[in-house]
Symmetry: C2
Subunit: 523 residues, 2 copies
């Protein structure tokens, strides 16, 4: 079988991992990206990094941590702004790689680039300002009885080298210089990124931007490394490296659990921040459904199909109480709106296959009615799908609780509010839940809201879960399996808290204190 | 063999676990405390709780969380203050149980009771004030382009039922109503305590105090349960219970790792906060050693032997550069001071045995010199021990890095500062490290301080690690194995952060917001 191939900017890209600021030659094992819109292989081929190089990347990161971990917030801010500037300077070739490798439209590429650079600058501002590290000073109490109290000062300090695994669906904003990397570098942690194999060219371009920014700032090149690998073994070796002190991951439940287990089973376990799976239930309360069935249906269809449904916050489940004319209208409009959405390519063949399997798996369940499903032939662009089942069926069939990554959603019909509550009660952890309400709805929804709160990181009212704001109040995490550690958000400035721990200095001479806790801090 | 026994207050104590506010009858399996000073069994016997009762305790806690998790800070403050008052009201019998079961002196019992009640009131004040939960409000930006921003509000909310395992060495302050329980209840989490088998009577008395305080506050009795069990199976069943969402543990490295692994390997993993092992290195820099050898030796001996050395912050390792007259004086005075400390009973037979084994293990290592060791005969009170070895031996023999729980310390002689740095570089994570410095010492200690900082939660200057202040700047944790999660302190108000996660409300009507985020919060 011959495959068509296309070269992406062969002059700039070399297909090798970046360690110590340089491309490293690697063995014979290679892979390449595939244009999901055309099926063409995209060149150059990428070389899977070897075990010795992974080891070296970890050692360099540990070595660099001794200095980078003690750099000032102002120094790190310059670095982060430098990365953003380098990324912007690359220009159109980055956007072209993004669209070729992901099948996502140009506008999305531009939006993600802007978001990536905004995040880098947000973390730059945060660490330049300095208060993020929560300095606390308890003055000495020399007269206290029965014992005097010594002076105690504490603040947050970086944990050490961090490994980052970006997902297929955000080549830039959660990629090589995405939120995980930006927040870890901001905290003072060297970063080793395992690039997602769906978009190696995009990853390499951004990798060079980070390397160049580090060079311009005079930082040791061990502050950043980018690893390529076609299978799982590169990532597994990376999280096992003794120098690695924390991991950021966005991806599937299976791959995430595997890495989580590796982290927990190390001789010295390390924190693993994974964002794994979420079906983001939407509860349509009776008043809202009666008041605006068509508006909700239209906006919901847009949310389900945004980015071909390839968002972690995609609304994959809609609970409502059928019976009235408006409920009928809601379903009719939703079906019609979804049917009108043009077919779109998915991110890669695996995602495409998994979507087809998800549709088949769901449609096969006894009691599930297929309202819209354009078939699941191999390859090519995909269309939205819509299913419906009674809440009893949903509660009994755990397969319906699994995420279908793509533009599909499942309507779950509840007899009444009590059954809606009962149904929410059997759900796993979620990134988000959404409630549409009007009139007196909320007065009957106390139990529902309490249960939803226990299951989510973000509770949305009269809106849609897609669209994750980057701001201080954002919580992008949730109980397992939405995330592996619901105590930390991966979006917004709070993301930096994943990479730090508090340290206390007792009775320390001024010369031994970090700047943030020095004499000026107590003034 | 007949054993002597003594009854502790048989009228009040019934030897059963407390679930749903009531003693539960249990099976045949029983154990009892032993007076470590006399070897006498202490009655009543305690019944190991059965699997069905553990299951019920978890279910009650989950049920209670629905309401208790949504109580106000003011309500929980009343409960916490009520517990403190009930504990104080018990009076002398509590102090008697404490001393009989632990072998610790009366003054220590009084101090711990005061610390326990102070902690309860500190958390009461914290949650009554309300700002601890970090409310954040990002106002809507309706005019923003290309998309308006919805309003987002977030705050910290409780994670759910928490299991607490207290240690042998703090029957009150880390016990049934100790820091873990107080912080979890303050956060809004129901608590299930597995009592330490060394002090069941002390535990039962405090358990009744918590139950009574809950009753007086009109709280559902599922808010608290106390489980007794002689082996490990009660604890294992507890951390496996699906309702349990977090665990606080203080104890040995082996038992802690076992529970950590159980938590990580659950279908839904949960956070495990364990404090396991620390040898708390003390670095004597040349200037300090020259300036005050005798003072340091005398105070160090007091720190090593405080509470018969049974503190997690006990200084088990002292690094110094020998050669001068002052270094000789330091060792002479330290040996003499330690030799003068009277023998004291250890907490229980297992601790006594483990101390004897630790001394034997250490003394056997080639290159280790025994400066003081009064023998390791079975049973009875123990005496301090002092060992010395060159830093090369310490670096090569990982057995010397293991904690000896008890009044022993190991002097490690370093050729120079470079070797001291090299030696610190091979150490595991620690709760604390201590540096004694004078004159120009610090100017030569930059590398040492940087390395120590990477390995500890608290860095002490010119003091001693025992004595853990309960205050906002305190960090009582450290890299593994000092603690299993160095991002959270278990002492001080920050302990509450272990039991919460952030939740975000997007575009929420005022009626759906918790009080802390309601309209008043935005004013």
């Amino acid at each position: 079988m011959t495959r068509r191939t296309a070269h992406i900017s062969p002059v700039q890209l070399n297909g090798h991992s970046l360690i110590g600021g340089e491309p490293v030659s690697a063995g014979e094992e290679v892979f390449c990206a595939v244009n999901p819109a055309t099926g063409e292989d995209l060149l150059p081929t990428y070389h899977t990094v070897g075990a010795a190089s992974i080891k070296r990347a970890g050692e360099l990161a540990a070595e660099t941590f001794a200095t980078y971990g003690r750099s000032t917030g102002a120094q790190r801010a310059v670095f982060l702004r430098g990365i953003a500037a380098e990324i912007e300077e690359v220009g159109d070739i980055l956007l072209e790689c993004f669209t070729l490798e992901s099948g996502l439209p140009r506008g999305r590429a531009e939006g993600e680039r802007a978001r990536t650079c905004d995040q880098l600058r947000m973390f730059a501002d945060l660490v330049a300002a300095g208060t993020w590290c929560r300095p606390v000073i308890d003055p000495a109490l020399p007269e206290r009885k029965p014992q005097p109290r010594p002076e105690l000062r504490s603040m947050l300090r970086p944990i050490g080298p961090v490994a980052v695994f970006g997902p297929a669906n955000f080549p830039l904003a959660f990629g090589v210089a995405g939120g995980d990397t930006a927040s870890a570098l901001a905290a003072g942690c060297p970063v080793i990124v395992k690039a997602h194999s769906s978009h190696p060219c995009t990853s390499e371009i951004v990798g060079h931007a980070v390397v160049e920014a580090a060079r311009r700032c005079g930082l040791p090149p061990g502050v950043f490394a980018l690893l390529f690998g076609g299978g799982r073994k590169v990532g597994q070796a990376l999280v096992r490296h003794p120098a690695v002190r924390g991991v950021g991951f966005t991806g599937s439940k299976v791959a995430g659990r595997e890495l989580f287990d590796l982290c927990a089973n190390r001789p010295v376990p390390i924190p693993f921040f994974g964002e794994l799976s979420s079906i983001n239930p939407v509860c349509l309360l009776p008043g809202a459904l009666a008041a605006r069935p068509s508006v909700i249906a239209t906006s919901l269809a847009a949310s389900v199909t945004l980015g071909c449904g390839q968002f972690c916050t995609n609304p994959g489940l809609v609970l409502y109480i059928p019976g009235g004319r408006e409920a009928e209208e809601f379903v009719t409009v939703l079906t019609r709106q979804l049917a009108m959405v043009p077919a779109a390519p998915m991110l890669n063949a695996a995602t495409r296959r998994s979507y087809a399997e998800g549709l088949e798996r769901t449609g096969r369940v006894t009691g599930v009615e297929t309202l819209l499903c354009a078939g699941t032939e191999t390859g090519g662009p995909v269309r939205p799908a819509l299913f419906r089942c009674p809440a009893t069926v949903f509660r009994q069939q755990s397969v319906l609780h699994e995420e279908i990554f793509g533009p599909a959603t499942l309507l779950v019909t509840c007899r009444d509010m009590a059954e809606m509550v009962e149904t929410v009660g059997v759900m796993e952890g979620q990134l988000t839940a959404t409630v549409h309400q009007a009139g007196a709805d909320l007065s009957c929804a106390t139990d529902l809201l309490a249960l939803l709160e226990q299951r989510v990181g973000r509770l949305i009212f009269d809106g849609y879960p897609t669209g994750v704001e980057v701001c201080p109040a954002m919580v992008h995490s949730g109980p397992w399996p939405a995330s592996t550690d619901s105590r930390f958000t991966s979006v917004g400035p709070g993301g930096i808290l994943r990479w730090v721990r508090p340290i206390c200095w007792q009775n320390a001479p001024a010369a031994a204190l970090p700047g943030e806790l020095g004499p000026a801090a107590s003034a």
